[in-house]
Amino acid sequence: MSYLEFLEEFGARYLDGSLITLIQAVCSSILAIAIAATMGLMRLSHLWGVRAIATCYVEFFRGTSLLVQLYWIYYVLPLFGVPLDNFTAGILGVGMNLGAYGAELVRGGIQSVPRGQYEAAIALNMSPIGRMRRVIMPQAILNMLPPWGTLLIELLKGTALVSLISVADLMFEAKQINGSTYLSAQAFGTALVIYYIMARLIITPLMRWSETLLSRRMGRA
């Protein structure tokens, strides 16, 4: 079977799988960003208890591996009376894991804004929320965009693991096609190329674009 014939026969399944992977990636990114923002801000709190909760969360999710967390969420959580379908379990696992890494980026991004900016905002009598929203956050976000680009690629790669709890994503389709045709190089190679295209032709340009957009709005470009 030539490679073109292979694509003709299985192309549709690769597309289906890619779509599921993209949905998984988008949903878990939203979850990861929400968790990262919350936990990152909590890590900077003045209250000892709030800081401790966030530190525990981050250390716990960064200390164990994503695959272990996924299996735990999918196989053990139902025993506590939280039955989850595999699709939701996948989003939860990937989102919560990468959210912990993101929290550190949020914390670092906010801490990288020079002290003078805080002091100037206070001197101008801005409210704490206004100070955060109009002075600190825009600069912090601009600082953290490049590492977030890397993190989102990690997240996309992480979604491949949801195939192990039987979500029919790109990786899952590749495994199925390999199982029925034994054309491993074609089956897995195609999936590898698709993941690469998603990372380099979707995530990387998207992050570049938001970086230029944001720096232009801040008058830096």
Binding site: V68, Y196, A199
Partner: protein, 226 residues
């Protein structure tokens, strides 16, 4: 089956899990050693001055870095037999994880080498130092401390990625837990214990690596005077 932790079962499976944990550590260390060497190759091949070669290696590194490790493990394991080369799970796993982390480490090396000011190279040339003395006496003492934090993070990273080797049947911790769970229809204890074992190893390891970094930085800082 409801939530009910069984201690007798826990004690029964703990020795097996401990063996699995040893294999996990072994896989992480072996994979990391392979990654360190190949990663250095990747980094140096990008500094050759031959434009096409630099560009090619750069793309290869980017490709490996942006695609999922678990898919690469499958690829390495299954593609061999298609062309008449059968690999043991351990061999395939070490190649895949070694290559994946080599691409990460090469970026760490590259960053550390790039961070050395041009003047340092020029001074070595002006002093007519041999390439060996340039590297051993001037470049590496500055590049190594710069590379250490990244290298430490990836050592812990490779340890946390070894569970993926279970998909091709490498008998590490996750694989052991899967087998125990499947045989006894109990997943609560094995999976929870796997999580705990990972925490118990990776948190102290992270702490130890930070200590080691500051120790190296101090040791090299003192050794620079002569």
């Amino acid at each position: 089956m409801a939530f009910h932790w069984r201690w007798d079962f826990t004690w029964d499976i703990l020795p097996q899990l401990a063996m699995g944990a040893l294999n996990t550590l072994l896989a992480a260390v072996l994979g990391y050693l392979i990654a360190m060497v190949i990663g250095l190759g990747f980094a140096l091949l990008q500094r050759t001055g031959i434009w096409t070669l630099n560009r090619l290696v750069r793309e290869v590194v980017e490709f490996i870095r942006s695609t999922p490790l678990v898919l690469q493990i499958f690829f390495v394991f299954y593609v061999g037999p298609q062309f008449g080369l059968t690999l043991m799970p351990w061999t395939a796993g070490m190649i895949a994880i070694g290559l994946h982390y080599a691409s990460y480490l090469s970026e760490v090396y590259r960053g550390a080498l790039d961070a050395i000011p041009r003047g340092q190279w020029e001074a070595c040339r002006a002093l007519n130092l041999s390439p060996q003395r340039t590297y051993a006496g001037v470049i590496l003492p500055q590049a190594v401390p710069a590379a250490l934090p990244g290298m430490g993070n990836y050592l812990i990273g490779i340890f946390k990625d070894t569970p993926m080797l279970s998909v091709i049947g490498v008998a590490e911790l996750m694989h052991t837990a899967n087998a125990i769970g499947g045989n006894n229809y109990r997943y609560l204890e094995p999976y929870t214990l796997v999580g705990l074992i990972f925490l118990l190893i990776s948190l102290p390891a992270a702490f130890g690596i930070r200590r080691f970094e500051s120790w190296v930085r101090r040791a090299l800082g003192m050794g620079r005077g002569h």
